[in-house]
């Protein structure tokens, strides 16, 4: 539908002005973007780290949510990108955030607003831990993030 049109509009707007701590890493096509985000305050968990988010857009964006997850680049890479530690982020980069599920998504969200949500989700966190059952989830999950039925039971973080 109008996914391409809408994405190119978003791209044009964001190239003019990006919120602090958010930069483009890759946006050469209209199916997959990569964004680098950085936590703005001095939260010791994420200090001096840059994380990379991968957005995958379907043809029905923005009616359907994009798939958003962290990706890691090895430490040997010229721009190493780890997966941030957070009780809602699995070590394979999958983010448990209701905003990104089909139920919690709203078509008025943009790449920019999603980035800012994740940024503030990291900023507010104080717990140095992975979600419960992280290793099982990481080794057995073959589903796409959008289809996983997360239980959004923690409103604190």
């Amino acid at each position: 539908m109008f996914a391409g049109k809408r994405l190119s509009k978003e791209l044009a707007k964001m190239q003019g002005h990006l919120p602090p701590g958010i930069t483009f890493a890759k946006s050469d096509n209209l199916e997959e973007w990569q964004m680098d985000i950085r936590v703005l305050d001095d939260n010791p968990l994420y200090q001096n780290q840059i994380y990379r988010l991968k957005f995958t857009f379907s043809q029905k964006y923005p009616i359907e949510p994009p798939e958003v997850q962290f990706i890691s680049l090895p430490a040997s890479h010229e721009t190493p990108r780890p997966i941030p530690i957070h009780p809602h982020i699995y070590s394979n980069g999958i983010i448990c955030l209701d905003l990104l599920s089909t139920a919690g998504w709203s078509p008025v969200q943009t790449v920019e607003s999603v980035c800012m949500s994740i940024q503030s989700m990291l900023t507010a966190n104080t717990r140095d831990e992975r979600p419960p059952g992280d290793s099982d989830f990481v080794s057995y999950n073959k589903r796409r993030p959008r289809d996983i039925n997360f239980q959004y039971d923690d409103d604190n973080v």
Binding site: M1, K5, R6, K9, P62, I63, S106, P107, V108
Partner: protein, 449 residues
Amino acid sequence: MNLEELLLVESSCTDDEIVDLRALDYVSGYDTHLMCPICHCALIRPVRLQCDHVFCQKCLSSAVTSSSSTDDFTCPTCRTPTQTVYTDVPRLLINMCDDLRVKCPFLAEGCMEVMARGHVESHVDKYCGYKLLDCPSETCDKKTRKKDLDSDGKCVHELLQCSHCEEEVMEQDYEDHLNKSCLRFETMCPHCQVMTLQKDLGDHIDICPDAIHSCTASKYGCPVKIKRADIAMHEQACPLIAMGPYFEAQNSRLNSLELTMRHLQQRNEIFEDGFANIRSTLVDASRVLPGQNNRDLPAEGPPGSSDSQEMSNDGSSQSNNPTTYLLFLHESLREEVGQLSHAITDLDARASMAIMNECLRIKEDMAHTNTAVNSIRMQVQWLMNPRLHQGQRTSNVRTNDTNDSGTGQLGSSTASTTSASPISGPSNTSRPGLRPRRLSDSAREGTKL
């Protein structure tokens, strides 16, 4: 309407769009408030939710379609549960969106038109010559521009062989081919008679040595027009070219002077306006002030002669001595206040006199009424007397009381109208039949009668 109706309306009107307004190329940016938060285009057929958030009708209906059920649909912006869609979006919003300048959707075909978005549909429908239409020939499935369409319905997509380069081109592109891309079609330069390719003719004329060219000083009046090859020689000798830089400098000076002149003129106009304003306020002021004096004069009345003299002095001296004038004004106002207080006391006295008179009259009336009432009471008493006597006589028969003293007492009490108490002493308990009569007797006349 509710959400189901919205979906119905939307599905029924998806096909009849002439132009996809979302695909339009906007000439300038637009305010983000005019932007549908879903498609990020300027709002197209906007609809409003209860929470006052506005979306394109199409965007909202696709958001509704994607939600799990229409019953728990929430506003995409604020997540307020909503069931009703309003089409009465403020006219202002629609007008602002329809007023945005867009390029014709057939820009790629060559239409350079720029128009308000609200006019795109009619432009494309009726006026745009570059609109692509189906070829009139039934066997041909290509599109053709509206302006290229022959009235006789001939297909212009048949391939013609170029007479020069043997390339096959479609009829509609034939002229373009000759003028721009044919590699064989040669034509003669009108100046130097050299054969060149038609597509290069323009470039050739720019450099052709035989093309007639005017002297670069022609703008300063050099009338010479000669071939390009000779122009260099002429320019060396042309006196006007030598003076060129001087002319340039003069021109720029003239321009700057003109500019400053215009500035000064504008300032001058502003000053003139200001002067006119000041003058008019002055005239108004001088007209108002003497007018006040004249109005004061007849109201002054008795104090007369000295004041009027002062006034005439005042008229002449007011402009140079405003304090005197103000003092005079103060004085006259004080007098006026004095007069007013006089008038008020006078009115007061008159009012109290009138009230007194009224009071007297009413008092007299009351006295008259009193006497009339008294006489009526006496007559009633007189009429009642025989019955009283009768009653007393019968009781006297029963109690053997003295008849004379009872009647005598009754008579005196009625005549004096002071009190009926003497009769109550002996007969109060023994004669219940007389009780109501005695009540009316003993009561004061004003109230009971």
